[in-house]
Symmetry: C2
Subunit: 563 residues, 2 copies
């Protein structure tokens, strides 16, 4: 027998009981006749006390070579612990048999929680890094999160149904892994990027509610929050509207937060895509702090200031009640803007000092009266600062979104313990890809338009989609849509995306065919499980919640793969 | 709103309530002024009654084109059903609004349960075939089975931990799918065949009990019970012996049978690999019926009968108390043997007729006295038949195993409702591949020897492994082993399998390295989920329990994949 107790089950109730224990040596103190070993199993640790006279000569010799993290098996008696240091655990095990099961070398790195310390070694020896209590608990958290999600969905009559991983190539387009078939030489499967088509087919099969916790694959250059394989909670429901879906999944997220964080989230806010862009410059705004953009065209356009006149848009931030926000910090902002990938026309500031004077980057052009006037129109006061940027809309919004986050951090507006969930609605159905010179789907080609279907031929960019993203603290946690349930509309959408009839029939013929046999209205949503774990634990790195992650270059340093 | 009730929730308690329902038309009867529609949702069906005067002209017209399996949305009032035919469901819905959501064409085939009827069309239109109640319930069964498995394992402190799908090529050898990497041109991942190495690394990470319900991939020619991607329940435990594992998983299987079949399985029998081969000719014996082989060397060797004297082995079956087992049936057996892929030397029979005479295929050689003597020595009586075969051991065992199953069926010895689980133990660690001229693992290279490690260099074929297979009704449901936990032994095993040190370091270096840091004794087991579903439902086809299976040639007829 290798053990008959896990350590956490032992307490003073078992005093006098002989137990068999196995585990890893946490530390060992040899005081001559007596040796103390702190032994660890998966769950906890326990104190062993070994009087050398009670164990064999062999055991004494074997102990000499014992390093931390070696594995031993012992037999001993549960005893009351006597110690000068009062400890929480008030038993210890008096050992009369000890056997070394496996010796450990000294670790190639220290099990710490420092980010970027020995990151290469930690990836290479991932199996050792996972002995780190925090990393281990990340995976236990992940297990518990998924368990709760399953329980919730089971209660709401969702069925988990597995869909194929090996699918037809190019069902979903770019960046897919291809898998050559050995049986059919010259032919390929691809690895599913998401079960989108299959889950819709399940609705057409008359299943009511589907979910799957499923590995998906994307062969793309990686960023810190992407892995070539990632796990998705994928859901689809029949006979639902957007409202139904938002309610069901808002409730789910709220229950998960209540369970794991111990607090109730407020009712989720909603915002339209358009408002998100206009106010925050992004469709993933971090609403832990407010700080909307202010559009300043009305104030500065036609003021004969050339940069403003040639700019498409003039935006501003009010920095209110931060009179310590000084010129040095403003120069940092200017540098941040210059270093940004997004190019804009102008950056200016006006600071109204407490002494009533103005510091401004265009004092040459606007006089004291003008500046006073601006501040009074905008309702700004002494001590406040006005930041002004101008340029073409798209880069300006993107840059201002980054700038907003920087200001949020600089001004300490972002509470680390706050979660601000937000449904972003009413995305456009299409966007225009200026490089490829064609329309692409903002979500995916199966997303249903919300209205204005009549604009499909004339103004596709003005069609709003029946979609929704869940954004929490600026991170996209999930997203979905009501789907197209009509073959003609689906074909029209494919055509706008640049497919001709032959290509459509070749790639999607089987799918369009399925629309002929009674299709229920349906929609769904998907959440990134890895990212969910990271978010709820306020970690920046999704790889902390994956047992054996690849690195940022999709490389597995432990096994040396791909090879 | 698309609906506010699923049909199964409606009953006489809601009489008078106005409800919104959506579903598929099961059938429609138009009797002039009144139309009856039987409407189906995922869960059940319900009767609609439509007086044409109560609905709009448009609705009446739309109804005219209504085929079965079209999707409609209705609003109506829950009413008491008045019918000459007393039905179980005693409500119907009086409709005052009807909208067609999606028309259906006539199906390309009939939703029946006949095997091999329209199999091609059923695969091509899998989404329609899944509307078949039985197929749908297969997937619901699968969901419930997995749910129960998860609950059981959770209770026993197993954690589900995901391992990578994209792994280093050739960790496990042949028949793997390779996946070219786009980022690292010329390099490959492969798709995992099982999480074997990763789950062992998790034990080395000091996780206590792991499980995963996980897709695995094998690129091999398919048989009726194989798919290129299949789902496995994969488990691994630290500090366990074989006995621990057999108890935990026998209990799991028993609980599942009790829950889903409503009966208690008897305590599982165990048999050694050697006994399984000697008695039943296979390591997967179907023990729903006994009928062991009888070794007849003692009786027929040295009887100067040449065929027997040159044969390595003489085996027999007793067919007792089946005096109707006549010569015609014996000739069928002979034909079965001739048609078999396994070639043997001799097939003979002796039948002791009720009238005291013998019918025998070697009456020319043995006289009445001999035959009487044989029957008396073997304890056979009037009406019994003795079947005798001889040949080389391996083909003879294989053929006799097939013959045993045929006799079991012919003699009606196999009860369809019986389940006979059996642990097969003590497999050899290695077998010798006569074609490749090398040793291969009977299970896999990580399996621990049970004893005789000293024979590793001299007689590897005589080493018994610490492994176990669970066989139910002749089907291998799962299998596993206690693993090697020592780097030197692991390296020795790799060497016997034909790897040199350089190859070992290249392929498994990272794994052997992990043995240096304190390895717990560990072992595990894996079960085929698809096969589990099929077995417990007494279905021959695992594809009946997969939402979107490939066909027997790994081809997806629905999407035309691979392509």
């Amino acid at each position: 027998m290798l053990r008959n107790y896990i350590f956490s089950s032992l307490n003073t109730k078992q005093l006098g009981l002989t137990v068999v224990l196995s585990g890893w040596v946490n530390n060992i103190r040899d005081k001559g006749g007596i040796v103390w070993i702190n032994l660890r199993d998966h769950y906890s640790s326990i104190q062993l006390i070994i009087e050398k006279k009670n164990i064999s000569e062999t055991a004494i010799n074997d102990m000499k070579l014992l390093n931390n993290d070696s594995v031993i098996r012992v037999i001993g008696v549960v005893s009351k612990k006597f110690s000068k240091h009062k400890e929480i655990n008030d038993i210890e095990i008096k050992i009369n048999f000890l056997e070394v099961l496996s010796y450990s070398n000294v670790f190639p790195f220290i099990l710490d929680n420092k980010i970027d310390s020995n990151e290469f070694l930690k990836m290479k020896y991932r199996y050792l890094d996972l002995r780190n209590k925090k990393k281990k608990h990340n995976l236990i958290f992940r297990y518990n999160l998924i368990k709760k999600i399953r329980n919730y969905l089971d209660l709401y009559k969702f069925l988990e149904i597995e869909t194929p991983v090996l699918v037809k190539p190019s069902l979903e387009g770019a960046r897919e892994f291809v898998v050559p078939s050995r049986i059919y030489s010259g032919k390929f499967y691809s690895l599913q990027q998401s079960p989108q088509i299959f889950k819709q087919l399940l609705m057409m099969s008359s299943f009511d509610r589907y979910y799957q916790i499923v590995k998906c694959f994307r062969d793309e250059d990686l960023r810190s929050d992407r892995q070539p394989e990632f796990t998705q909670l994928d859901c689809e429901l029949s006979f639902v509207t957007r409202k139904n879906i938002l309610i069901i999944f808002e409730m789910m997220i709220r229950e998960l937060f209540y369970f794991f964080k111990g607090f109730e989230l407020k009712k989720f806010n909603t915002i339209s895509y358009k408002d998100a862009i206009c106010n925050y410059g992004t469709d993933k705004p971090d609403l832990r702090f407010e700080m909307k953009f202010v559009e300043l065209n009305f104030l500065f356009k036609n003021s004969n200031f050339k940069i403003f006149d040639k700019s498409e848009m003039i935006l501003g931030f009010f920095i209110k009640k931060h009179h310590n926000y000084n010129i040095k910090k403003i120069f940092e902002l200017e540098k941040f803007i210059k270093d940004s990938q997004f190019k804009i026309d102008g950056f200016f500031y006006i600071k109204y000092e407490l002494d009533g004077s103005f510091k401004s980057s265009f004092s040459d052009f606007f006089n004291l009266n003008d500046l006073n006037n601006f501040f009074s129109v905008l309702g700004l006061e002494k001590g406040d600062t006005l930041i002004i940027t101008s340029g073409n809309k798209d880069p300006l919004y993107s840059l201002m979104s980054d700038l907003r986050l920087k200001l949020g951090n600089d001004l300490n507006l972002i509470s680390k313990e706050k979660f601000s969930p937000l449904w972003v609605l009413d995305f456009p159905l299409f966007k225009f890809d200026n490089i490829e010179k064609k329309y692409t789907s903002v979500h995916h080609p199966f997303t249903s338009p919300l209205n204005n279907i009549n604009l499909l031929d004339s103004e596709p960019l003005n069609i709003i989609s029946n979609s929704y993203d869940l954004v929490v603290n600026g991170i996209e946690l999930g997203g979905g849509s009501i789907r197209i349930d009509n073959a003609n509309l689906q074909r029209d959408v494919f055509k706008i995306l640049g497919f001709n009839d032959k290509e459509i029939d070749n790639k999607f013929g089987f799918f369009l065919n399925a629309f002929k046999y009674g299709v229920p209205p349906h929609g769904g949503i998907a959440f990134g499980i890895d990212r969910f774990c990271a978010l709820i634990n306020q970690s920046k790195y999704i790889r902390d919640f994956i047992a054996f992650p690849k690195n940022n270059s999709a490389f597995d340093l432990m096994t040396n793969s791909p090879s």
